[in-house]
């Protein structure tokens, strides 16, 4: 079934679709397909690729730094996803009530989002190294400093963003349901856990999706804050993959194989998460 307008519009594909399509082929489709192919090859530049089957994947999975980066990214993602969502939800909840100055507070909390990852990394390097200097330590002294430094940085950056999404969700909550709850004598905790949180599940789905993918994809902040120091122990997956590509000649194939594994991981995690939280959504 195609409408009259649709028929007329279809003929204009060259103007409407072609520019985006060509850019998409160059900027996504070809690099993606070629990337998958190269993950099965040995190469130093794209043109001298030689098919080696699954050996790159074998090397990638035996690489201790890669497995450590996987653990690092996973832990970082879990910790930041929980902290960011709980804190952002709590701040959003308070700031939708009529507190004096709440618009100003919203603006302040959101502000770090506009600053780029590299810049954020150096801001926090200064601050955290300044604090750690009291104990004559620095961020690169031990991986746990790098880890928690990155947690603080990522929370500072993203809480405001998620807060905005939660505020939008809370402002569209149906007032009649909440009024009915208070007429029926529901306590604050009951209203929160039985009514507000279930009704907020769509926002929670979006925010946890964003925080999880951001956690795994984290690169700029990781590069600027510690660049993996000490000895690649504070390296997340994205940084580990980039360092494999550009840090060791002859390991480009392994880097590409890691990248494919990384893509599969991100895809599976985000699909699972989406299924899980979507299944908890209710209608008012």
């Amino acid at each position: 079934m195609i409408s009259m307008a649709g028929k007329a519009i279809r003929r204009w594909w060259a103007l409407f679709v072609l520019p985006t399509f060509i850019a998409f082929i160059i900027g996504f489709v070809v690099p993606f397909i070629y990337g998958v192919y190269l993950s099965f090859c040995n190469f130093t530049t794209v043109t001298d690729a030689e098919w080696v089957g699954f050996s790159n994947y074998g090397k990638a999975l035996q690489d201790k730094t890669f497995l450590h980066a996987l653990l690092f990214s996973t832990l970082l993602t879990i910790v930041t996803t929980i902290i960011i969502n709980v804190v952002a939800f709590a701040i959003a909840y308070m700031l939708t009530k009529s507190i004096r100055g709440s618009n100003l507070f919203r603006s302040v909390f959101f502000m770090p989002n506009l600053i780029g990852g590299i810049i954020l990394g150096y801001i926090w390097m200064l601050l955290l190294n300044g604090v750690l200097a009291h104990w004559e330590r620095s961020l690169t002294y031990d991986q746990k400093y790098g880890f928690w430094g990155l947690v603080i940085l990522v929370c500072w950056q993203q809480i405001g963003y998620m807060m905005i999404i939660y505020i939008a969700g809370m402002q569209s909550l149906p007032t009649d349901v909440l009024e009915a709850a208070s007429v029926d004598g529901a306590s604050g905790t009951q209203t929160m856990f039985r009514i507000i949180i279930p009704l907020m599940m769509p926002s929670i789905t979006v925010c946890s999706f964003l925080t999880i993918t951001n956690g795994f994809k984290l690169y700029d902040q990781n590069l600027a804050l510690t660049n993996g120091a000490p000895s690649r122990m504070s390296e997340g997956l994205a940084l580990n993959i980039t360092n494999t590509f550009y840090g060791r000649v002859g390991y480009e194939g392994v880097g590409q194989a890691k990248a494919v594994l990384f893509f599969i991981l991100v895809a599976i995690v985000s699909l699972l998460q989406n299924k899980l939280t979507t299944s908890k959504e209710v209608n008012a």
Binding site: F28, T45, T96, I118, I164, G255, F263, N274
Partner: protein, 279 residues
Amino acid sequence: MNAEKPKHGLLWTIFFSMLSLAWVFPIFLVIINSFKNKAYISDNAFSFPTGDAMVGFDNYVRGVETTNFFASFGWTLLITVGSVVLILLCTSMCAWWIVRVNNWAAKLLYTLFLFNMIVPFQMLMFTLSWLADRLGFNTPWGLCIVYLGFGAGLAVFIFTGVVKGIPESLEESAMIDGASVPRIFFQVVVPIMKPSIISVAILEAMWVWNDYLLPYLTLDLNKYKTISVAIQYLKGGYGSVDMGAMMACLVMAIIPIIIFYVICQKYIVKGVMAGAVKG
């Protein structure tokens, strides 16, 4: 649930005021340190720039000279504006076509764009930078096309959602009046899409302005650097970092963003909400 007065309203205001001060403290700290002699920055980050430590704008002068900051600023601005304009124009047209035509080709294309949204950049960075180099896209102008290709997914996704909500009868009546297809798009559809166009512009601008790895791998770095790339270059290889120049560059990178934020805050918040659509 709005406008309900919480208990202890004043206490909450005080609490959030303290929290807000803590929130801006890192930026305040960078500004203070940008006026300090570089030797004092690492040792004593929390002291005020007084006496010997105070160097006025020396760090700024050195920062601008070593990074060629204003050139980087210009390139970043050019790349951001160019990419955003290109993305808005091309993807809005593409999204309209996809929704209205809705045949197998349109559906396939839409699925590909959805797929694009979950692929991390590391998956394509090697092949993409190679291809961009081969095609001569290692200039700011070429980079705009790369951004259009790699960033099309989210923009198309948001725009198709918007177009689906526009009644087709509007376009059909314009067609009966004899308007051509491009004219219908630009004079009937675009004005309706305007709020979401602004939102997508904000989202894409935030991404392109701050992006580091794509310009770093794609651009010819002898000629062009973006702000993020220039700042990362200050860190250099293994040598010591000029923390003074670094702090000055950080401040110079942050201030335009904050000015932009103060002016466009309303749109930025809307943009974030528009981006929060379920994937």
